[in-house]
């Protein structure tokens, strides 16, 4: 099977200062990839580069053999949806309106929703189980609800790849599980490719096909959960010092 997204000699960072150098990864259609690494390792930066929200310092991102930097905005937005940590600034929108903005790349010149668009919005809201929020003011719902609405919005875009930046951080355990189950269902049903950064290592271990570990200025490891999740490797990745490790053992806190 061909790679849906890959990078070649990708160097990323801000204002010309490299943060991560020489990233060469290839991801297959329908894989769930999680990105882990210590704070400030560049997880969000990598996601932003994959989504073309930031331009790479060197190298390129390819989407099914097309250079992302050369694609038109609307082409790209039909293939890649994002769920980053930015808050929606729109005012006076109910949840339905927010979900419907996901149809943007498909609507006509004035952005009016067709019958088909409306049907897709309905179905997605059902899938993500947010129908009852339809009329609620988007600014007045809880963090968990907001995140599910944002997921519905991203899925409405009918993407082949969805990029998520710490999507589960604000969710309680039930909503976390619901959120992840939807992503897995989309993977099974529609061969959706999922690339997301997470802080919860247990989630990374259980849901991922492969895990991308960032440390220092390189991709430290890119492999299956079995390859990545050894006590020793994780301790190294996060620089867990000996005394902290002893403390964790004493309190019986598992790293993952």
């Amino acid at each position: 099977m061909t790679d849906i997204i890959k990078t070649e000699k990708l160097t990323i960072g801000y204002n010309g200062k490299p943060l991560i150098k020489d990233i060469n990864i290839a991801i297959k259609k329908g894989e769930i990839i999680t990105i882990i690494g210590p704070n400030g390792a560049g997880k969000s930066t990598l996601l932003k580069n994959l989504a073309r929200q930031l331009d790479p310092i060197e190298g390129s991102v390819y989407l099914e053999d097309f250079k992302v930097s050369e694609m038109s905005g609307s082409e790209l937005s039909k293939k890649v949806a994002i769920l980053f940590t930015d808050r929606i600034k729109g005012e006076m929108m109910n949840c339905y309106d927010v979900v419907a903005t996901g149809r943007y790349p498909y609507t006509g010149y004035f952005g009016l929703l067709s019958a088909k668009d409306k049907e897709i919005v309905e179905n997605t809201m059902k899938l993500v189980k947010v129908e009852e929020l339809r009329e609620k003011d988007f600014k007045k719902i809880s963090d968990g609800q907001r995140q599910r609405i944002m997921l519905a919005r991203a899925l409405c875009q009918e993407p082949e790849i969805v990029l998520l930046d710490e999507p589960t951080s604000f969710l309680d355990i039930r909503h976390k599980l619901e959120f992840l189950s939807i992503l897995e269902k989309m993977k099974e049903d529609k061969k959706l490719t999922v690339i997301m950064s997470v802080h919860e290592l247990d989630i990374a271990q259980k849901i991922s096909d492969r895990i991308l570990c960032l440390k220092g200025d390189t991709v430290d490891k890119f492999g299956t959960p079995e390859e990545v999740f050894t006590e020793e490797y994780i301790r190294n990745l996060f620089d867990v010092a000996e005394d902290i490790n002893k403390y964790a053992e004493k309190k019986n806190i598992k790293l993952f």
């Binding site: 006076m92 943007y104 875009q157």
Partner: protein, 340 residues
């Protein structure tokens, strides 16, 4: 649900159009000389024998009222664009100093031309105002790189406004006596002395700008959500921003060139319209804000002309009385939300 919304929009538009019609007629009828609707209709159809009434209506009131309609709409529209651009409900051409910048350049151009006993044409004045508006806009944009707090940006904008006004005052003070009266009135904002030639030029410039803004309503909708969302949906944000800056500057410039700086309409009208429609869809808000601004200005100009007749108030005096409280309300509401 969908039907209820549509009904609300239709009613809101009907109210706006009706209000504009009513105030348009009132503006034509009421003045230092009161003219009955019958006489107005007679004058319009060219059946009047009374030359005075004919002149008052055709040469004074009608061009002025049409100009108020066009410029009021343009004010609201440029305010709406700036609010969208900065994601800030109290941004507007006046508070960001853009009007004052335009005013300064127009005053300089006027005095320069008058000193060579040339009369400035409408187009020249618009060009001068556009240069001034772009200068101030450029300055504000430079500051946004260093300032991320919206409140501080507004304060800086107000300061730019003061600097530009000071320079304008200086120029006006040293202009020759005959020019001063004219310049002085204009530099405080007034719709008086509009001619049909003025109206023609502003109608063309503002109609073109309006159509361009309306064509941008889809990307503006995406931009409303925030920049990363707009990018994620395939909008070329850089190009869009350039368009917003150019169009809002052109609209502000056109207003200043003809009527001087007018405060608060750009903030108050779009805000009230958003509340009336309970929506943030540019597709609705662009035409609705235009109509709202027109209505607001027709109302304010009626008061400005007649409240202390025969003395005419500056239009900004009236718009500030109604507009400034709205800004305060917006600020109070924002704080509430921040606390909750």
């Amino acid at each position: 649900m969908g039907k209820k919304r549509t009904l609300r929009y239709i009613i809101a538009f009907a109210v706006l159009v009706l209000g504009i019609c009513v105030f348009f007629v009132l503006n034509v009828c009421i003045g230092s000389v009161k003219i009955s609707i019958k006489d107005v209709l007679a004058a319009l159809s060219g059946r009047t024998l009374d030359e005075t009434i004919n002149t008052i209506i055709w040469n004074i009131r009608l061009p002025r009222t049409v100009a108020v309609f066009i410029l009021g709409g343009a004010l609201a529209l440029s305010g709406y664009l700036l609010q969208t651009f900065f994601h800030n409900p109290i941004a507007g051409p006046f508070v960001l100093g853009i009007s004052s910048g335009a005013k300064m350049c127009v005053a300089l151009a006027m005095v320069f031309l008058l000193s060579r006993s040339l009369k400035a044409s409408s187009i020249t004045l618009i060009m001068a105002a556009f240069v001034g508006a772009m200068l101030c806009m450029g300055f504000v944009l430079l500051m946004t790189r260093r300032i991320d707090s919206m409140a501080r940006l507004i304060v800086c904008g107000v300061m730019i406004g003061y600097i530009c006004s000071a320079i304008t005052e200086l120029v006006v003070t040293f202009a020759s006596d005959a020019d001063i009266v004219n310049l002085h009135n204009w530099s405080r904002g007034s719709f008086s002395g509009m001619t049909w030639d003025n109206v023609k030029v502003m109608a063309v410039v503002i109609a073109v700008s309006f159509i361009l803004v309306f064509l941008l309503s889809k990307p503006l909708d995406a931009y409303n959500l925030g920049e990363s969302f707009a990018k994620g949906m395939g909008v070329n944000v850089k190009v869009l921003r350039v368009f917003i800056v150019l169009l809002s500057s052109l609209l502000s410039a056109c207003i200043v060139a003809f009527a001087g700086p007018i405060s608060f309409v750009g903030i108050a009208a779009p805000h009230l319209i958003k509340k009336l429609f309970n929506s943030s869809k540019p597709l609705l808000l662009i035409p609705a804000s235009f109509l709202g601004g027109s209505l607001f200005c027709l109302f304010c100009d009626l008061l400005a002309r007649n409240l202390f007749a025969p003395t005419e108030l500056n239009i900004s005096t009236v718009t500030a009385v109604f507009g400034a409280p709205i800004v305060i309300i917006i600020l109070l509401n924002r704080k509430e939300r921040g606390q909750s």
